[in-house]
């Protein structure tokens, strides 16, 4: 597949994630949109890894070029898992304190 298709797909998914972050007030939905953006980036990384691999294979059939991209995705998943655990803990704490998950309550940055 031409690489542009993957780029477009990932851009669309990423933008949907952004729009979600911008339009929703529920902290959990916002958080899920962040996950969506992360996945869009992951997909693009894999596609690029395969693109580079395809380019390298024409020169050397035994090449492993592009494997770093997939390893990168692996590490992103690891970090995402850690992030989600901490993030959800924060949301739980927020809910416990305010009985709401509305991010508009998170306006302490003003002061």
């Amino acid at each position: 597949m031409p690489i542009q298709y993957y780029i477009y797909l990932c851009l669309v998914l990423f933008s949907i994630g952004i729009i979600g972050v911008l339009t929703r007030r529920n902290a959990i939905i916002v958080f899920m949109c962040v996950e969506l953006m992360l996945n869009a980036v992951n997909l693009l990384l894999v596609a690029f890894s395969k693109m580079h691999h395809a380019a390298a294979l024409t020169l050397n059939p035994a090449a492993t070029t592009g494997i770093e991209g997939q390893l990168f995705v692996f590490f992103i998943m690891v970090v995402a898992a850690a992030e989600v655990s901490v993030g959800l803990a924060i949301i739980v704490m927020l809910y416990r304190n305010t009985h709401s998950v509305d991010i508009n309550f998170l306006n302490r940055l003003k002061n």
Binding site: V21, N107, K110
Partner: protein, 640 residues
Amino acid sequence: MSKLVFLVPLFPLIGFLANGLGRRFLSKPAVSIIGCGAILASFVVSLVLFFDVKANGGGTSTLFNFISVDNFSIPFAFQVDQLSSLFLLIITGIGFLIHLYSSAYMHEEEPQHFGRYFAYLNLFVFSMLLLVMGANYVIMFIGWEGVGLCSYLLIGFWFKNTNYNYAAKKAFVMNRIGDLGFLLAVFWLIFRLGTVSYGDVFANVSKLSTADITAVTTLLFIGAMGKSAQIPLYTWLPDAMAGPTPVSALIHAATMVTAGIYMIARSNILYTLAPATQTLVAVTGLATAVFAATIALKQNDIKKVLAYSTVSQLGYMFLGLGAGAYTGAVFHVMTHAFFKALLFLGAGSVIHAMHHEQDIRKMGGLKKYLPITHITFLLACLAIAGIPPFSGFFSKDEILVAAYAKNPLFYYIGVAGALMTAFYMFRLYTLTFLGNFRGTHEQEHHLHESPWQMTFPLIVLAVLSVLGGFVGIPELFAANAHSLEHFLEPVFAGSNAVAEHHHPEASQEWLMLAGSTAAIVIVIVLAVRLYKNYQPKEETSAGLSKALENKWYVDELYDALIVNPLNALAGFLKNVVEKSGIDGIVNGAGRLVGYGSRQLRLLQSGQVGNYILVMVLAIVVFILIWFNDATITRFFSKIF
């Protein structure tokens, strides 16, 4: 000779520094000795210089380079020639006498003010010496400003009196107006000739067009108007009488106010080549002479009479300058310095005896209490009135004869002024010294002759007033007897070569002399008879005399024409332009920032969503800029 020149101003400068810095430590006698000694030393050096000049002619000596820009330079140089050496003698000689007089006159002051007084006085002498010794207009200007400053400081010497401060300020501001003219003239000379040294300017005077010379001389004359108190800038001088009386004698009679005459005499070639300015000088001088004399007729303050008399006599000097009688003007400066200093010092002696009473209506009959003062004052009055053979007769006569040569009308008006001079001087003399004492008994009880420090200068000056005229005996009396003219000849040689001198017929001159002298004697007798048995009475003067008492309402006229409009303009600028204009801009800028900040602060809502929104938009904008930088650069290069 040149080795000694710098000593002349150096001594007063040292005296100024010593008295000024040490006024809290030095005792009064020490201050007097330093102050008088410095001037005496200057006087001795001046005498040496004078005889040197007389024998060998003048010269310039350069101390250092004062200003040097590209190929234009102003050396700090002193020029001692016949004219300046004569002035040196007048300044240091009379200056010494007045310092001596001051040491007694001011003895009631506290030590530190006593020191301050002598410091100012020494600084004044230093500045005045710079003024007359400078070899170019810039050095003269330094001295010019220096004497203006000292005049200001000394008029306002008793600074606790607000009116005295106003008088000081008035003198300073009036002088500044004239100084601007002087300064412009100097700039004009630099612009046209590239030099300000007297020698260079006078040698290159042919390079200047007549318009240039007329402009320069007129501007210089404006400077002289301010410093020498001529119409329209004369009003500061009567007010300057707020200062101590010796100061009036030294600064406002003998020396500083003659700076304008010195300057014009120094620039005589320029004035000779500018007949229009000469006429202006003559007319202004004549007008001032008569105008001030009329005011002096009705003044009752002993110092005010003398002040207007000074203005009037200065007017005569300018008349002489305008008529081309430079020697006559300088001659009159000299004799006037003698008798006017004497008059002021005599007045000071009277005031001293009367415990600071200055109103002549409350005096009278002082003849028997103050014999020395009385005799010297009388001699000075005779001198100023122009009775032969006192000094004033010769100098005034020389000026009036020259005025006749220029225009007979000038002569007749001048003689009328001289008659008024005789009248008001003898009115003053009669009211002060003759008749009965009109003051309080307490004052009468305390009347006493002044100490020797005050009477000695009076006697010396009286001798000079009587004999001073004999250096300038006119050709009419004896051939080649006018030694002053011969002495000053090198200075005015250029002018004498250009201008033709036509003396009136000898017989006519005799007639003029006899006529004016007779008239003056008649006027004197009239004045003495009129005021001999004067008793103060409640009189409401009206008409002309009221106008005279109020000095022709000139101060009021200036207030109405200049001061009030300026105040109104200043008030307008302060209340309208400043408040709503400038303050408006400043406060508006502040308010704009404050308002903008309040509005901008709303952007910081603390809402995470808003922040992210702005972030996304910013990313979009940054990407657009990053990938369209060529377009943007082209866009901006088109704009700018």
